[in-house]
């Protein structure tokens, strides 16, 4: 037992001796949490649009005014040809062109229907979908306004009223969704990189041999290597949680204790994975590349930025074995939905087994004699 403590002390001294590491371990994650959480939003406001009005009637002007007076749209410029207007797309100045053809009002008065054109800059597919949605809503509103003015809805039309409610985040605040996810990412990145580089570093500098000849056993060695990062990880998570509650006002419906319980197992998985990578590689460069590859994979397939539900089946299958995805999901469930131990238990078991496998692999790969 005493051996472990001495070993632990050595590890802590080694981590904190490197002055450049302190701000990296503590400063950068916190700064990123504060900054990036504000950036991660799909919400689109202030959509700049151009319009081309060949009709130039009071009717077409009325339609345009619906757009200019909406919160979502800002007029970029009035132009007189589609080609000229598309220049704004190329210069990234507008996202939408509204084209109103000649005889727009005349056709409407004559046939009761008329056409206009929305030309949307769709290089960003999802944003284009949102723009289309907003523009469609305004047009629908305009349609029903002129309908009320002119005709009466036939009495016998059957109508289904659709009501909808957004639970767990009624204001559709992106931060509520993103902050727990980004926090998990930061803790994971720091934890896996630190542990991934640790043993290789000793190998590369040559100090591993000194450790190998000491009476420290394999298990003590692994525990001594992991525990400091485990403590750092838990501390960062706690600090990040406090920040998200105070600064971002993220609700905490479930029990914080449950989060820490889950995190304590989760960190074993991540650190164990890092250590395993560390024992596989010969140089820090290799270790870093492997860790980096796995992290990017975990992060982008983790459901932080894009929903895992819409991925193809094989990607969902990978996502299932992705501890980051599981932990982010569990964090969101506990914080935002107030899920209890009973809902979280499968994830808990999953981490426990996963962690055990990772640790066994790391212990198995680490040999005291080469």
């Amino acid at each position: 037992m005493k051996k472990i403590f001495i070993f632990l002390r050595k590890e802590f001294i080694q981590i904190f001796r490197n002055k450049a590491m302190m701000p990296i371990i503590f400063g950068i994650p916190i700064l990123q949490l504060l900054i990036l959480s504000n950036a991660a939003t799909y919400e689109i406001r202030n959509i700049r649009f151009n319009f081309i009005d060949f009709d130039n009637s009071s009717f077409s002007r009325e339609l345009i005014s619906k757009f200019t007076s909406s919160d979502y749209f800002i007029l970029n410029e009035v132009s007189y040809s589609i080609r000229e207007s598309e220049e704004s797309f190329k210069r990234n100045e507008a996202r939408l062109i509204i084209y109103i053809p000649k005889d727009f009002e005349k056709n409407y008065r004559k046939d009761g229907k008329s056409e206009i054109q929305f030309i949307i800059n769709a290089e960003d597919g999802s944003a284009a979908g949102v723009v289309n949605n907003y523009a469609g809503n305004i047009l629908r509103q305009f349609n029903s306004d002129i309908l009320v003015k002119s005709t009466v809805i036939p009495e016998n039309t059957a109508l289904i009223n659709v009501y909808f409610s957004n639970w767990f985040n009624p204001e559709l605040n992106y931060k509520t969704y993103m902050v727990p996810g980004i926090l998990v990412l930061l803790v994971t990145i720091i934890g896996s990189f630190l542990s991934g580089m640790n043993v290789v570093r000793e190998k590369e500098i040559g100090t591993i041999e000194q450790l190998n000849v000491t009476p420290v056993s394999k298990y003590h060695f692994i525990i001594g290597k992991l525990l400091p990062f485990w403590i750092i990880g838990m501390f960062e998570l706690a600090f990040g949680l406090v920040l998200s509650i105070i600064v971002f006002k993220i609700p905490m419906l479930g029990s914080p204790l449950l989060i820490f319980m889950l995190a304590s197992v989760y960190l074993v998985v991540i650190l164990g994975m890092g250590l395993f990578i560390s024992t596989l590689a010969n140089t820090q460069q290799q270790a870093m590349f492997i860790a980096w590859f796995i992290m990017i994979l975990f992060i982008l397939l983790g459901g932080v930025f894009t929903p895992t539900e819409s991925m193809p089946d094989w990607a969902q299958f990978i996502a299932f074995f992705n501890p980051v995805a599981q932990f982010i999901k569990a964090m969101r469930m506990i914080m935002l939905k107030g899920s209890g131990l009973k809902d979280i238990l499968p994830v808990f078991y999953f981490f426990a087994i996963y962690g055990m496998i990772m640790m066994s692999l790391a212990v198995w790969r680490y040999r005291k004699s080469e």
Binding site: A39, I116, E123, N132, A158, V162, A281, Q286, M288, L297
Partner: protein, 368 residues
């Protein structure tokens, strides 16, 4: 010159000898662009929902079938009462609950009015918005089918034209972004590690006392990585063109030139990082922990920049990837020529110069 060439050769040997790193170097960008090109999407598909049918009549059955056959939703469970809704959400599997009021079909027939409630798990606001939008339009379609024989009221019909990406494929958006993220991270990481490695192992000293001047040492270190990254760029471009059918509407030569410029920017950033750090660990933590998330989030790769708070929009200007993504999307999707992207190009050149200038200032010819 001969000395310099043999130094470059030595660097090449260093890289090629370490076949594991080489494998990762080439394998990773390919694996990533394949995985993400196929897997990352903002569209919705097979979202698990629960149905609470308090009416259980022909109309609700038909309408639920309509919703479930759309391809967007699959039914995970049928709930029995409103009390089941919250626990169902808490299990974390279903994302939406559809509630039919009691006597739904009867109400629709007799009173011409029926109520349908949609409850979305809005902890993911984007998904919630999409789910409600999709369900509502399915219900509207169904309703339009009911009154097909009746005269449609007068209205204005929009014709929608999606420019540059008619099918709204996410890949179009992601490939240029992924390209820049991979190239920036790989190049910056590789150079920064290779230089700090010499410092850490102690061989830097040997290099410094050699007749090569520091400038030659740095250039010699960068050239092999530049070549490797060029191969990477070519592979990524070929994959995006032939596997994902992302069009290259503009000039390929221009795109190639800009990619090389961006590579140089990334490599000089790597040099800068290496002059700022004393050991590989610090260099890696800076290039990974500090570069990874900002490059993914602030570059416009996933999230549109023009909706970010002002401060972040200003901050995003210092991310090299942002400028590269604008240029790459311009050339690939919009087919623009140089006159549209000269400004972004100048910024990349300026960034490269600044990185190099600071590195030269900071580069120590002596060991401490």
């Amino acid at each position: 010159m001969k000395r310099f060439l043999s130094f470059v050769k030595k660097e090449f040997l260093h890289i090629i000898r370490d076949y594991r790193t080489l494998l990762i170097l080439f394998g990773m960008p390919v694996a990533q662009i394949l995985i993400f090109g196929f897997a990352i999407t903002n569209e919705i598909r097979d979202v698990k929902i629960a149905i609470l049918d308090l009416a259980k009549d022909d109309v609700t059955l038909e309408l639920s079938n309509k919703i479930l056959s759309s391809g967007y939703f699959v039914s995970y469970e049928n709930l029995k009462s409103t009390n089941d809704i919250e626990p169902a959400f808490q299990k974390g599997i279903i994302k939406e609950v559809i509630v039919f009021e009691p006597g739904f079909g009867r109400n629709l027939e007799k009173e011409k009015r029926a109520n349908l409630q949609l409850i979305a798990d809005a902890s993911d606001p984007n998904l919630a918005n999409m789910m409600i939008g999709y369900t509502t339009s399915i219900v509207e379609n169904y309703q339009a089918g009911l009154s097909e024989d009746k005269v449609l009221p007068a209205r204005i019909i929009p014709e929608i034209k999606m420019l540059y990406n008619p099918n709204l494929k996410s890949v179009y958006m992601f490939v240029p972004g992924l390209m820049s993220v991979i190239l920036l991270l790989v190049s910056a990481l590789m150079t920064s590690i290779s230089i700090t490695r010499e410092k850490e192992i102690g061989t830097m000293e040997v290099l410094l006392v050699s007749p090569l001047n520091p400038f030659q040492i740095i250039v010699g270190k960068v050239i092999p990585y530049l070549l490797l990254s060029l191969i990477n760029t070519a592979v990524v471009l070929l994959l995006s063109k032939f596997v994902f059918k992302v069009p290259i509407n503009g000039s390929l030569v221009l795109l190639a030139c800009i990619s090389i410029l961006f590579l140089i920017t990334a490599l000089s950033l790597g040099i800068l990082i290496s002059t700022l750090s004393n050991n590989q660990q610090t260099a890696m933590m800076i290039s990974l922990a500090a570069l990874m998330l900002p490059t993914i989030i602030l570059s416009g790769y996933i999230f549109p920049i023009d909706n970010m708070p002002l401060l972040l929009r200003i901050l995003s200007n210092i991310i090299p990837s942002k400028w590269f993504i604008i240029i790459a999307k311009g050339i690939m999707l919009k087919g623009v020529n140089f006159s549209y992207i000269w400004f972004e190009t100048c910024i990349l050149i300026l960034m490269t110069l600044i990185f190099l200038l600071i590195s030269i200032k900071k580069f120590k010819i002596r060991l401490e």
